[in-house]
Amino acid sequence: MDLSLNETQKLIQDATKDFVRGACSREILVKLDRNKNVDVMATYWKQMSEMGWTGMAIPEQYGGSGNSLLDVAVLFEELGTGPVPGPLFSSAVLCARILLETGSEAQKKALLPDIASGKRVFALAFTEVQYGWSEDSIRMKAKKEGADYVLSGTKLFVDDAEYASDLLVVAGIEGGAGVSLFRVDAKAKGVSIRKLEGFMTAKSEVIFDNVKVSGSDLVGAAGGAWAGLDKGMLAAIPVLCAYKVGGCKKVFDISIAYAGERKQFGQVIGRFSRVQDHLINLVNHLDAARWTTYEALWKLDSGQDAASSVHIAKAVSSESYLNACDYGHEVHAGIGVVREYGLTLYTKMSRSLYHSLGAPKYHRKRLEKELKLVA
């Protein structure tokens, strides 16, 4: 038993910390958040690719560096402290892992190196109008036309689609059972991507209007993509959880610091039990998210059956991030809701990621199956 990070991981951690401190200061992130016209890709993407982050979760034979998921999670925990926005997770972790699990050798060779180099940016177009992350939430159907397919329908709240060069679209095929995966050029004729505004980051409406997809862009077997898709998602989820852990951690750090500086009634507020209790609740959420996440990563990296742990990590970290931000706001009171201060960046992110890749409710239902409470 050894719950510490190894030397590689410490190096990743330090490099990411430097990046966040430099390129992603609170000031810059607040500006990104408030100004709709600032381009996240232009701001970070080149640097991220140059640091090799776009290839970390991809095996060496496909142009990546073949790091463990834990290595990748260490990176994302630190990015979460920003919270640094952008499609790094969607493209280089989530879609990369799905392609690894589902793609043909030719597809992997064609696509993964481009993801690893940062040339292509993938997003997963999964959720639809009746929002959900199970196989049976997929209602969109592709129509087979000769060797090609034609896609029509709406994908909704698609994370990071606004940044994507390629979409990985989940859909059934008319007349057949199961779900299939299609690679679709984000700029293809008939695809329209519209970023949705609100108290959330980077979620889009993606409309497919008779989009022609070549048969060679069918990823995995027709109607048989679910197993690989699910496996890829299960591997990617704890990395997203680590990003949330990073968010909780930073909210905790900011809040502890503020409670140690802000004076009311002649003393710093951190001396008041009630303020302390908010901080205690906060750290309890942080640590619950942290250790459920890291156990899941360890199980995945060591080839064990990790499903239960992944479901637990996602269920816990989604709730924890939400609550950690709430307690952060309790500690800060007024200043916390001033946009310039930066706390609301995390609050928004915690809400935005709550449902991505499945809300706690969904993962608890999956856990019921793992616990054999239901067939």
């Binding site: 109008v129 609100g198 959330m200 409406e205 002649g266 007024g334 409710k361």
Partner: protein
């Protein structure tokens, strides 16, 4: 026991009268935005117009004494008036007027006869709109720690300093504020309460950019401002309650702010959200999902508890029952309950709860606004921690005497 807001024959008559009045008095063109901060100027002016008409009739602050512009109205009648305004999506007063709603009752206790006539009447008649200026950068929960000074100079006070979290958009004609009149004096004994004309030279109002926009309800509320005072000269006759006696006035004021009076018809968004869940949108109804249903029921129950605490407080304050912890209890519940309800909505509606998109947002974005408002509402009118401090004191914990709430009219 009678929870009913049931009309007696006289009350039925009164309701008719109110409805008839509103039919002609409400200016055409009043619409509702989900996000109070974005209420355009013309909407605010329409509400002010209605406010002036209500004020002229004594119905803007109807429970206030007739002699100062109110109507000495009974609580049941006030409820009818409120009810009828709520029916058309408005409140009483129909715009954000914290200085009237909260300052009014305090001045009634602490003002001289002359001051009540001069200062309260225009507020109660809807002629002026007033803000309250309390918090400062270094003084939030600890209001007694303010630094803004008002130094006597002849028959004026000269004010210097900075107030923040001051509502709302579109300005106010006057403001109540708490100031330090004795910079060397003992804590709590160095403060005074004064009314300031906002058009005086030396006052600068700068909007703050926050996550949501106030969370104090009332049309036209919204953005908060920072207000700077640079050698502003205020007539000494506007000081209320005596020099260096401001903490006592503030205590009365805060009693109202801390939920002592109970707000009925709070959180309409709950009912509207449930309606939304019941209806089919985009081909499906949220309530078709049994998990969503259970959460909707839980959310509804939390809303009912909040409502019942408000009903009880309304009854306590309007029948002059002894009150102790109930005001703070309601405030605490409203703050934490609203946050809880907003998060349940997020769980129930998924990312739909987070968008303002024209095509996809439920209730024109009201749920998205509530997500932000649930957080922003945690601090105004005293944080949850302060509400607990008040509750504990009032309940008589630690062998103390149970403390009664400040007397209000």
């Amino acid at each position: 026991m009678d929870f009913a807001i049931e009309d007696s024959p006289e009350q039925t008559e009164f309701r008719k009268e109110v409805r008839a009045f509103l039919e002609t008095a409400v200016p055409p063109g009043i619409t509702h935005t989900v996000d109070a901060a974005n209420q355009p100027r013309e909407q605010y002016e329409l509400r002010r117009d209605l406010g002036r008409k209500l004020g002229a009739k004594g119905w803007l602050y109807p429970h206030m004494p007739k002699e100062y512009g109110g109507s000495d109205m009974s609580s049941d009648e006030v409820m009818i008036l409120n009810d009828e305004l709520t029916r058309i999506g408005l409140a009483l007063p129909p715009y954000y007027d914290s200085g009237g709603r909260m300052g009014g009752p305090s001045i009634l206790v602490w003002g001289t006869e002359e001051q009540k006539k001069r200062l309260l009447t225009p507020i109660f008649r809807g002629e002026v709109r007033t803000w309250q200026l309390l918090s400062e950068p270094g003084a939030g929960s600890d209001l007694a720690g303010i630094k803004t000074t008002a130094i006597r100079d002849g028959d004026h006070y000269v004010v210097n300093g900075q107030k923040m979290w001051v509502g709302s958009a579109h300005g106010a004609e006057r403001s109540w504020m708490i100031v330090v009149t004795d910079p060397k004096g003992e804590r709590h004994k160095n403060l005074s309460w004064i009314m300031v004309d906002m058009s005086l030279p030396g006052i600068t109002v700068t909007p703050m950019e926050t996550l949501a926009t106030g969370g104090e309800g009332g049309a036209g509320g919204g953005c908060k401002n920072t207000v700077f005072f640079d050698n502003v000269r205020i007539p000494a006759e506007n000081l209320v309650g005596g020099e260096n006696n401001g903490w006592k006035v503030a205590t009365t004021h805060l009693e109202v702010e801390h939920g002592g009076t109970g707000r009925l018809q709070d959180r309409r968004v709950i009912g509207e959200f449930i309606d939304y869940c019941r209806e089919k949108h985009n081909g499906f109804a949220i309530a078709d999902d049994p998990d969503a249903r259970e959460q909707i029921a839980e959310m509804f129950i939390e809303g009912e508890v909040m409502r019942l605490f408000a009903v009880r407080n309304h009854w306590l304050s309007h029948t002059n029952q002894p009150r102790s912890y109930e005001g703070a209890q309601y405030s605490l519940r409203r703050k934490l309950g609203s946050l809880d309800i907003s998060e349940r909505m997020l769980r129930i509606a998924g990312p739909y709860a987070l968008t303002t998109d024209e095509r996809w947002a439920p209730l024109q974005g009201a749920i998205e606004y509530f997500q932000r408002d649930g957080i922003t509402s945690l601090h105004p009118g005293a944080t949850t921690d302060i509400q607990k401090v008040i509750m504990a004191r009032r309940m008589g914990t630690g062998g103390r005497e149970r403390e009664q709430a400040g007397k209000l009219r």
